[in-house]
């Protein structure tokens, strides 16, 4: 079987459904609806039309010549998901799932968010489809990302700060799952990444796979051949899976995921789940995760709220073990330098998450042959990160 034909519940030994029994019926309903819709010509056409007229697809490819010049004899191509409505790849999944929620007759969606990008995308889709929307967000993140909280509220969503546990993305997912257990009849949980119980990892991947399918065609048209490597940042892993998927069976195309190494993978302050984690169960699936000797989830750290997560989607764990994709850590410092470099060489300010993928190019330039073509998923724009960047680079006040 082709790698790209693999679907859940299991990716090798990873995936599954490690959730309380009350949620199983909802997962079964979601799976059955999705299985019917993914091959339904009407649903496919409706979603494609939404992407064309609302999301802004297809997204373009920009060759980053001045940026690439810093790394020697390579060519770098950016898949511009930052130009999508709401400013990141997240909208691809959100429009798909919101449409499914409508088909299931659910009037309310709930979502978790870390940096706020998925929350904003969910609130956007809820407004568009006329659904009620509640977004769970760690209290720490609501303070770090106050502007995104305001965006969600302006879009009509209710934002609930989560005060349990470490008060970040991990705990926001726990709280969303608790809400879902209690309100499963009326509510769809619009999970924002390729983690969680089946069918989420497969379904979210499928909704994002449009990124890679478009890019594969565009690269063939632009350069007459496939790229030598495809790169993306990896937190939960949705934008990486989205761009990898179309290339899984192209053996000559190397796939590279760049994780948040925070202050360094040899410190305790990182989010490099695949590089430094061990297999375990978190948020409903078996996958690599950051855990202590007792199986307690460890707190992750990254300057990027969107990568600050101690788990990762099960398909990435499978691709890692198979050796089909490689994963490498990028520190806060390396990511911030890449953010500045792309801004100043190309006039494109990337999200800090995305900057991890860009920073990885320095590593790829060393391991790939001269003249290599590298396709990078430019998964989101950096407007939301301006406060962090301004502080980091000392761009405010007298400086």
């Amino acid at each position: 079987m082709k790698l790209s034909e693999q679907v859940g519940p299991y990716y090798g030994e990873y995936g599954g459904r490690f959730v309380p029994e009350p949620l199983i019926a909802a997962l079964d309903q979601l799976e059955a609806t999705y299985e019917a819709m993914r091959i339904d010509p009407g649903f496919i056409a409706e979603l494609a039309e939404l992407h064309k007229t609302y999301t802004g697809r297809p997204s373009i490819i920009t060759e980053a010549k001045r940026f690439a010049a810093n790394y020697g004899d390579i060519r770098v191509f950016l898949k511009r998901e930052d130009l999508n409505h709401t400013g990141s790849h997240k909208i691809n999944n959100v429009m798909g799932q919101a449409l499914l929620a409508k088909k299931m007759g659910k009037k309310r969606i709930i979502a978790e968010t870390g940096a706020g990008q998925h929350g904003v995308a969910s609130a956007t889709a809820a407004a568009f489809f006329g659904l009620d929307c509640v977004v769970y967000m760690g209290e720490v993140d609501t303070e770090r990302q106050a502007l995104n909280v305001a965006r969600m509220k302006l879009l009509g969503a209710e934002v609930i700060p989560v005060t349990s546990g470490s008060k970040t993305l991990k705990d926001a997912i726990n709280e969303a799952l608790r809400d879902w257990v209690a309100n499963v009849d009326t509510t769809h949980y619009l999970l924002g990444t390729v983690a969680g119980p089946h069918p989420f990892p497969t379904m979210v991947r499928d909704f994002h796979s449009v990124i890679g399918y478009e890019a594969r065609e565009q690269m063939l048209e632009l350069t007459g051949r496939l790229p030598d490597a495809v790169a993306a940042c990896v937190g939960g892993g949705s934008n990486a899976i989205g761009i990898f998927h179309a290339f899984l069976d192209d053996e000559d195309v190397a796939l590279w995921g760049f994780e948040a190494a925070g202050e360094g993978v040899d410190t305790l302050r990182h989010a490099a789940t695949l590089s430094r984690g061990t297999p375990g169960v978190l948020h409903g699936a078996k996958s690599y995760m950051l855990q202590d000797a007792d199986g307690q989830t460890m707190e992750s750290h990254s300057i990027s709220a969107g990568l600050d997560y101690p788990g990762v989607g099960p398909e990435h764990s499978w691709l890692k073990d198979l050796g089909r994709a490689s994963y490498h850590g990028v520190t806060d410092t390396e990511a911030m330098n890449a953010m500045r470099l792309l801004s100043q060489t190309e006039g494109i300010i990337p999200a800090i998450e995305t900057a991890h993928g860009l920073a990885g190019i320095e590593h790829l330039a060393k391991v790939l042959p001269a003249g290599a073509h590298i396709l990078v998923n430019l998964s989101g724009r950096g407007d939301k990160d301006m406060e962090t960047a301004a502080k980091y680079f000392g761009l405010m006040g007298d400086k």
């Binding site: 599954g16 459904r17 490690f18 959730v19 309380p20 029994e21 009350p22 199983i24 019926a25 909802a26 079964d28 349990s164 546990g165 991990k170 705990d171 726990n174 799952l177 608790r178 257990v181 209690a182 309100n183 499963v184 009849d185 375990g280 169960v281 978190l282 948020h283 409903g284 855990q291 000797a293 007792d294 199986g295 307690q296 989830t297």
Partner: protein
């Protein structure tokens, strides 16, 4: 000591009914949790559930979340669980089940965890986020070691799943009274009675009802149709507010709902 199954059946036979009490290991300290569990056994709990503090308790409401977070902050490690079991077992003969989310067990090693439970004196385990579909190893190990395994059924479960989960369970099957997380509720859902009716018609495994039970009246009501009432949040809250005397009083108060 008698098994969980025998205890529930004997209490049902006699018309008394059963009170199953949950309390987290290590809250507020290891020693205090031993005294708390012993007091619950001595004042009317027929079966004890020892909770394992865990970083991501998705089935639990705030009261249990906070208590288990405090236990971890106070230094609880998994090895303490078996120490709590040993010390409780040394003082009372009440049947005793561990209640744990799956990852701590998986990380410790399923076989090794089972062996430690057996050696320290626990009768088995309740697994709130492990459904039988994912439990191949636990089914095998618990069978081989003669340990009880308690899975959940919920109002949303299909008849096929109710039958399968009940039949896969040993000791009892946990009927979740309502669609929601642990915590007190003023009234019990009619959903609980319907669910227990389905369990009874589809399986021979006894069933206890949990989630939302906090009064003697609810304990009486549930024992009218099920094999036991499970209480957690109300006990943890009583200890939190009034210490061991508060827990003793709450146990006596709820046990008064038994026949």
């Amino acid at each position: 000591m008698s098994s969980v199954n025998d205890t529930l059946l004997a209490n049902r036979e006699s018309g008394k009914g059963s009170l199953v009490g949950y309390y987290p290991a290590g809250y507020p300290t290891v020693k205090d949790s031993v005294d708390a569990l012993v007091a619950m056994a001595e004042n009317g709990c027929d079966v004890l559930e020892i909770g394992v503090p865990y970083s991501d308790p998705v089935m639990d409401g705030l009261v249990i979340q906070i208590a288990t977070e405090e236990a971890r902050a106070a230094g609880f490690v998994l090895g303490d669980l078996f120490e709590v079991i040993r010390r409780v077992r040394a003082r009372v003969s009440t049947p005793l089940l561990v209640m744990s989310y799956w990852n701590p067990v998986l990380r410790f090693g399923v076989e090794k965890f089972a062996e430690e439970m057996l050696v320290s004196g626990a009768q088995g385990m309740i697994t709130p986020d492990l459904v039988p579909d994912e439990a191949a190893q636990w089914l095998e190990v618990s069978q081989a070691k003669g340990l009880d395994r308690v899975f959940l059924v919920a109002p949303s479960s299909s008849n096929e799943r109710v039958a399968a989960n009940a039949d896969a369970s040993k000791g009892f099957v946990y009927s979740v009274s309502t669609m929601g997380i642990t915590g007190e509720r003023a009234t019990l859902d009619a959903l609980a009675r319907d669910l227990v009716g389905r369990v009874k018609s589809l399986s021979k495994t006894p069933t206890c009802v949990g989630v939302g039970i906090s009064t003697a009246e609810q304990v009486r009501e549930v024992n009218g149709y099920a094999d036991g009432a499970i209480v957690g949040t109300a006990f943890v809250k009583a200890y939190r507010e009034d210490g061991l005397p508060g827990l003793v009083a709450k146990t006596k108060e709820l046990a008064a709902g038994l026949g």
